[in-house]
């Protein structure tokens, strides 16, 4: 990949909090115009990474360039080129929607006329026009998130950073937020987002980097990551998993088989629907009883389990709010 096309370039980034290493020597490039995701469970180091990239944390080790500016030496230039939507809400409940945006615009010294017209434009984009003079404390969770997105776009940034953009939102609102993100991306804004939601990474991203315990453990497009696990996955519970494993390993249509808390997981090179009956018969022929069998296409969660032995979902619990 040509480096001129990279709008974000990270080399050897490390960050620790005292003795705890949050980010362990990661490197990656983000191409201009793409939607780029960091997928990983809570505590993986995603928020720390985004905080370093957005100048909220100092660079302890490594080099980061955004839009041609060095994050360590040209902080203000970086700040003017990026927009940020933080994970936790950062709105003042005692300001109105309009005042929230006006405050932000003034912080970035956007000249008055430009500022005012952009505010109007963005309020319309995120469909908050009728709430323009409403105090933030009266907005729903989804509306607040939309306001934060509008705010992040006020400076017409080259890159918009979103840290867990749909956390705590109900399914319908999440989809609407995804639509906004796609809309914004189509207008030329590069998107960098972090998430622990597999479907979010899957639906939105051009490129996904999977992160766990401070390290990047896999990367690629959603398709390529899932395909690396084979075409289909069969989940099997038997009364003799050890013996079954040995048999399965010898079958040529199988990529690999591994144990999990719920039995065996078999990755296939072929389509599972035709293969499954054959597998069942083979195992039963060896007098192993099959308690349950299931077939599905690999998901990003499966990719994550493949690399870490744990699921994305096991780590995360969230409360849902309505839009």
């Amino acid at each position: 990949m040509k480096t001129e096309e990279s709008i974000i370039s990270v080399e050897g980034l490390c960050h620790n909090y005292g003795k705890v290493t949050a980010v362990d020597n990661i490197s990656f490039n983000v191409k201009k115009g793409q939607i780029f995701s960091f997928l990983g469970p809570n505590g993986a180091g995603k928020t720390t990474t985004i905080n370093v990239l957005t100048t909220l944390l100092p660079i302890q080790k490594g080099k980061v360039t955004i839009s041609g500016f060095d994050v360590e030496k040209q902080q203000d230039n970086v700040r003017k080129s990026i927009g940020i939507v933080f994970q936790n809400e950062t709105l003042d409940w005692n300001l109105t929607v309009w005042e929230t945006l006006e405050f932000h615009g003034r912080l970035y010294s956007i000249p008055k006329d430009t500022r005012r017209s952009r505010i109007d434009e963005l309020i319309k984009l995120v469909e908050l026009a009728e709430k323009r003079n409403e105090l933030v404390k009266h907005l729903s969770g989804g509306m607040k998130r939309r306001l934060e997105i509008a705010r992040g776009l006020l400076t017409r940034p080259k890159v918009l950073f979103l840290d867990e953009p749909t956390i705590g939102l109900d399914p319908y609102t999440r989809m609407r937020i995804w639509d906004y993100i796609k809309k914004v991306n189509k207008e030329g804004v590069t998107i960098f987002l972090t998430t622990h939601y597999m479907d979010e990474a899957d639906q939105l991203s051009d490129t996904i980097y999977i992160m766990d315990k401070g390290q990047i453990i896999a990367n690629g497009t959603s398709e390529s990551l899932k395909n690396s696990l084979g075409r289909d996955m069969i989940y099997l519970e038997t009364d003799d998993d050890e013996k079954a494993t040995r048999i399965i390993k010898g079958i040529m249509e199988v990529n690999y088989v591994r144990g999990s808390s719920k039995g065996l997981v078999v990755s296939l090179k072929e389509e599972g629907t035709r293969f499954m009956p054959k597998l069942v018969e083979r195992i039963r022929n060896e007098r192993i009883e099959i308690k349950s069998v299931n077939l599905k296409k690999p998901t990003l969660d499966d990719v994550f389990i493949h690399f870490t032995g744990r699921g994305l979902k096991e780590e995360n619990q969230e409360k849902k709010k309505t839009a």
Partner: protein
């Protein structure tokens, strides 16, 4: 010149006028102090303190006028210390992230908050002066119009200097703490000695030694000196004591407050620059 601090100022003042509860209590509290404590105590003190014949030409000042300066100082004390709470709130609940992630220099957060704190203090001082006048506080007795105008300016100058020092102090404490309950506790702890170990309500001379010593290093005492000089004159008798303020005394008070402000500013600036907001 970079003017981002005006944005911080704008937001703070907007909320001051918007949050009715805050506006109301900040103005009602001093009014109540003056009206209830002031009137009750002054009618008692004027009875108790023996009517010693004055030296000729020395104005006799009643207790209400004497302690009015104290009421003004108390209002400013609370307004400024509490501005620390809103700063701490911003830090704790993430609003400061927006400011820190922007090109805004961190010093501007301090300057903006201080400007709005000073403005609030000035507004409140003027309201108290007016209210006191209605209650019968006799300021500027024997002053010409020119002297009165000059004195009002002098009072406002001292208000600005005193408020700034307190704002910087509150900002330093606010940025160092993690929770606003802790801050509330410290403010409560500080305000008692600051207010009572001073000459706000009574003359210093008769205080027990330790309290007297605290009063001598208490910026509030010097604020009161300046206030009394400008409102009551350089030579008056009140509460059983003669007061003589020379230009020297006033300048010393000014210098003390200025020094206090500078030290507090440097401390606050350093604290805010080092503070972690994520």
């Amino acid at each position: 010149m970079r003017t981002e601090f005006l944005t911080i100022f704008w937001r703070d003042m907007l909320k001051f006028f918007r949050i009715k509860a805050m506006l109301f209590t900040s103005l009602i509290q001093p009014a109540l102090w003056l009206a209830i404590y002031g009137l009750s105590m002054s009618s008692n003190f004027d009875l108790i303190v023996p009517g010693v014949p004055n030296q000729q030409g020395v104005v006799s000042v009643n207790y209400l006028a004497f302690m009015a300066a104290g009421v003004i100082s108390m209002t400013i004390l609370f307004t400024c210390l509490y501005s620390g709470i809103s700063l701490q709130f911003d830090k704790q609940f993430g609003l400061m992230k927006e400011m820190v992630a922007s090109p805004l220099p961190r010093s501007h957060i301090l300057i903006g908050i201080s400007l709005s704190g000073v403005t609030k203090s000035l507004i409140q001082s003027i309201i108290i002066l007016a209210f006191g006048f209605i209650l019968g506080v006799r300021f500027f007795e024997g002053f010409t119009i020119g002297q009165t105008l000059l004195s009002v300016l002098g009072i406002l100058l001292f208000v600005v200097l005193f408020a700034l020092g307190l704002l910087f102090l509150a900002s330093t404490i606010a940025m160092k703490l993690e929770s606003h309950e802790g801050l509330q506790g410290i403010i409560t702890l500080l305000s008692l000695p600051l207010f009572f170990a001073s000459n706000a309500l009574y003359p210093i001379e008769s205080l027990p030694l330790v309290i007297k010593m605290i009063s001598y290093v208490n910026p509030l005492s010097y604020f009161i000196n300046g206030l009394r000089y400008f409102s009551l004159g350089s030579n008056f008798y009140s509460f059983g004591t003669y007061y003589k303020y020379g230009t020297y005394d006033v300048l010393m008070s000014l210098a003390f407050l200025l020094g206090f402000d500078i030290i507090m500013y440097l401390l606050a600036l350093r604290t805010i620059k080092k503070a972690k907001v994520v």
